[in-house]
């Protein structure tokens, strides 16, 4: 088993976290959250990958003739993409609203809720 893709998944996730923690712009922060999520896509697809296997589409493939990659993780990734699209859309809508109400998208200047 090759560990390289797993390291990439972890790296992408942590890079997203770093971006979120240090972001000075909320749109950038929402992007960083998507980067974190991209880490989960990489991990899921890595889990299902098999050497020399093809896509699990059986229309032009005799079942059992060749190995295929795991379709379950592909379904999971697809679901994850849908979930992520919803979250990102909602977050960006909230950022638009924050920009209207606060006049800024810099989290350092949003200090009304504290203590």
């Amino acid at each position: 088993m090759d560990v390289f893709p797993y390291l990439v998944a972890g790296w992408v996730f942590l890079a997203g976290c770093y971006g979120l923690a240090t972001s000075r712009n909320l749109i950038h922060a929402v992007g960083c959250l998507s980067v974190c999520q991209a880490g989960t896509y990489v991990l899921l697809l890595t889990v299902g990958y098999r050497d020399d296997a093809t896509a699990p589409v059986f229309s032009d493939l005799k079942p059992g003739s060749r190995p295929v990659v795991d379709p379950v993780v592909q379904a999971l990734t697809l679901t994850d993409v849908v979930v992520g699209a919803t979250v990102t859309a909602l977050l960006l809508a909230l950022v638009v609203q924050i920009s209207k109400r606060h006049g800024t998208v810099d989290p350092d200047e949003l200090s009304e809720l504290r203590g």
């Binding site: 998944a9 996730f13 976290c17 979120l20 923690a21 240090t22 972001s23 909320l26 922060a29 929402v30 959250l33 974190c36 999520q37 880490g39 989960t40 991990l43 899921l44 889990v47 379950v72 993780v73 999971l76 679901t79 994850d80 979930v83 919803t86 979250v87 909602l90 977050l91 909230l94 950022v95 609203q97 924050i98 109400r101 606060h102 989290p107 350092d108 949003l110 200090s111 009304e112 809720l113 504290r114 203590g115």
Partner: protein, 586 residues
């Protein structure tokens, strides 16, 4: 009976779809009636299933049953704890809908159905999470309930604070959810299964736990503990509760946070408790340490708040700490106690939020200092508020007291002191608010340190400030408090709860749950302690106001989303460090 299980999710989702599609055609009362009818129907279904759930239901959606022990289908589990949480979520949704009946902000023209539709979606997500028997589905329901919760938190989009609190909530919880998904991916890589029982069996078949199991455990628990608002994952919660509309706060504090605790219990019990998972002493250490920290920080921060909704939010954090300790000690009696405690707490906390909502809508403020003595005329609300505080302290015969005493007996030793202290301090803070706001006792408090959210100048959630309190707004907290008392006194109720929890949780060990003299005494002690603290704080505010040495703790709650993300990473590391030693040892 088991084929009715998916309806718990399908009915609220269909109801929400109906309201979204037809909401613009119908008037507001019709939309709200549909919302109430659908959530009440789901609640009734959950209760019927709950009464017939022995032995537990198992439903493979679409008949994708396992072949030779390998499964690809989606499994729903209808056991006592899961259906109990679904019933609690449904009943609280009904309460929130009834509470917002007609009073809540006039929706924009043509969108009469949007708020009840969102609440029904929320209910569907929570019910789905409660009965999910498969980890990936649990993640999807977790995300559904979270996304709806963000939308509901930021429901008043024209409020500056509301959108800010909703964004913080969304970023932190989503990050937790993605960590959980990473963990699920690792577990699938090891076992090739997604059903919780199947994963557990796969891990056991693989032999001793290794780094992958540890990483999966830490990642999955991170997601669930963010939802459960354990320290240091808790920062989103006070911000979200301070800005969310009152009916939403009732649901967030009453059941959504508890679903995170329930998730920890369910996932550990079915996935990681075997020989191939995380050893019991490691789990116990991690949860008891985090739980104790949560209880202490929650109680201390609760005491220093003047924004009443934030105060109640911190009290929820303190109680979550107690719940985590209870499930962390891995004793059947403690599980029973926590189940009862959660039920009682849901009623009490939702009632307290409902009363706070009345203050907000009548005086346009939830600031303890600004409201000093102004609510003298609200006698009925004052009684409900004080009763809620006493329930929080664990005064017998509230269900909180029964649950707390059972758990205290099970955890034993110094942790009992923590249970008494945390519930006494949080209740004392609520009693202090009651004494100042409803009775006008004590001198008017001086301005604080400045590093705080005051809660004055909030916009009421009704069209106008209320001159007369609608009956629904007082009836709902009264019914909720009656429910919290019923949990403690209804004959046989505690036994039924204990039986259904033990049936799934503790491998055939059945315990009996009842009031004990020691438990009653401890309940009275914590109530007395709460009363004394509250009186002292009201009479002599100076020594009990926030001292400077509390300031570093308050500064952590900075309102900055980047800080909170950093704390989530710290928490994940701490969780790993607490779990690691036993994995190295054997």
């Amino acid at each position: 009976m088991d084929e009715l299980l998916p309806l718990l999710v399908a009915v609220p989702l269909l109801g929400a779809a109906l309201l979204v599609a037809g909401g613009r055609l119908v008037s507001r009362p019709v939309a709200e009636t549909i919302g109430c009818a659908v959530s009440a129907g789901t609640a009734a279904l959950a209760l019927v299933l709950l009464l017939n759930c022995s032995p537990p239901f198992l439903e493979w959606a679409g008949d994708w049953t396992p072949v030779d022990g390998r499964s690809v289908g989606i499994v729903l589990t209808g056991d006592g704890p899961g259906l109990g949480m679904a019933a609690l979520a449904s009943l609280l949704t009904l309460a929130a809908l009834a509470y917002s009946w007609h009073y809540f902000d006039e929706p924009p023209h043509g969108h009469a159905g949007s708020f009840p539709a969102l609440l029904l979606l929320f209910q569907g997500g929570m019910c789905g999470f409660a009965i999910a028997g498969d980890l990936f589905n649990a993640f999807v329901w977790f995300e559904l309930m979270s996304v709806v919760a963000y939308a509901l938190t930021g429901h008043r989009v024209e409020e500056a604070r509301a959108v800010q609190g909703a964004l913080t909530f969304a970023v932190v919880t989503s990050l937790g959810a993605y960590a959980m998904l990473m963990g699920i991916g690792l577990l699938y890589a090891r076992t090739g299964e997604l059903g919780m029982h199947q994963i557990g069996r796969g891990l056991d078949a693989h032999g001793r736990p290794d780094a992958l199991v540890l990483a999966a455990f830490v990642l999955v628990m991170t997601g669930l503990l963010v939802k459960a608002a354990a320290v240091p994952f808790h920062f989103w919660l006070p911000d979200a509760h301070a800005v969310a509309p009152t009916p939403v706060c009732m649901l967030l504090s009453g059941v959504m946070v508890e679903l995170g605790v329930f998730g920890v219990w369910r996932v550990y019990g079915t996935v990681f408790s075997g020989p191939g998972g995380v050893p019991a002493p490691e789990f116990e250490r991690a949860l008891v340490v985090l739980g104790a920290l949560t209880a202490v920080i929650g109680a201390v921060m609760c005491w220093y708040q003047r924004h009443i909704k934030r105060l109640l939010a911190y009290s929820t954090i303190a109680h979550t700490g107690l719940f985590l300790i209870g499930i962390g000690v891995l004793k059947p009696e403690a599980d029973d106690g926590i189940a009862l405690y959660v039920l009682g707490h849901a009623g009490v906390k939702a009632a307290l939020f409902a009363c706070t909502g009345i203050l907000l809508d009548r005086y346009g403020s939830v600031d303890e200092h600004a409201l000093h003595g102004r609510a003298r005329e609200l006698k009925g609300v004052a009684v409900l508020f004080v009763l809620g505080a006493l329930g929080l302290a664990g005064l017998p015969p509230f269900g909180t007291a029964l649950g707390k005493s059972v758990t205290e007996e099970a955890v034993g030793g110094p942790l009992t002191v923590l249970y008494v202290a945390a519930s006494a301090v949080t209740a004392a803070a609520v009693l202090r608010v009651a004494a100042r706001v409803f009775l006008g006792l004590g001198p008017r408090p001086e301005a604080g340190s400045g590093y705080e959210t005051t809660g004055s100048g909030e916009r009421p959630e009704t069209r106008h400030r209320l001159s007369r309190i609608p009956d629904t707004m007082t009836a709902v907290p009264a019914v909720l408090l009656a429910g919290a008392v019923a949990v403690g006194v209804a004959p046989g109720f505690a036994k039924v709860v204990a039986h259904s929890v033990n049936e799934t949780g503790s491998a055939g060990v059945f315990t009996s749950v009842h009031w004990t003299p020691a438990g009653v005494l401890l309940g009275l002690v914590s109530t007395l302690l709460a009363g004394v603290l509250a009186v002292l704080a009201v009479v002599r505010p100076k020594p009990f106001a926030a001292p400077d040495r509390a300031l570093p703790l308050r500064r952590l709650q900075s309102g900055h989303v980047g800080d909170y993300v950093a704390w989530v990473l710290v928490g994940t590391t701490v969780l790993g460090a607490l779990t690691l030693p036993g994995m190295l040892g054997g």
